[in-house]
Point group: C2
Chain length 76, copies 2
């Protein structure tokens, strides 16, 4: 998967998500791995959402574009 | 999908990801939709990563747990 050059998601957020999910301890590498995965997923969804907005004749990406792109990307 | 009660991901980050992916304009609802989807994915991955760390006899969630959980959740 393609990884964004400038990460948008914070490492501290990733750490908290894993802690909230029941972890006693979380390695720094684990938080970084979650960040990489989520950024890649975010970018795939965003790219398809942009395509879908253009396909619908719009210049604004709307929630319905993100919703449909998410369904497609995540096989829901 | 289950949505976290306290969002960990920032709306501004979601907005930037969609803009970077080529959007002219992004509605606020679109950024919020991306946040909801990513939080749900993050939580699913994190929960499985915690299970995998316990399964491996550890109390620390490591990157290998997040990596395997991501593969399973995202069907990679």
């Amino acid at each position: 998967m393609y990884i964004m050059s400038n990460p948008e998601l914070g490492l501290a957020s990733m750490y908290r998500v894993i802690k909230k999910s029941g972890a006693d301890r979380v390695s720094e590498d684990a938080a970084d791995e979650l960040r990489k995965v989520l950024e890649a997923v975010a970018e795939k969804i965003a790219r398809q959402a942009v395509e879908l907005s253009i396909h619908a004749g719009r210049k604004t990406v709307k929630s319905e574009d993100v919703h449909l792109a998410s369904k497609n990307i995540l096989n829901l």
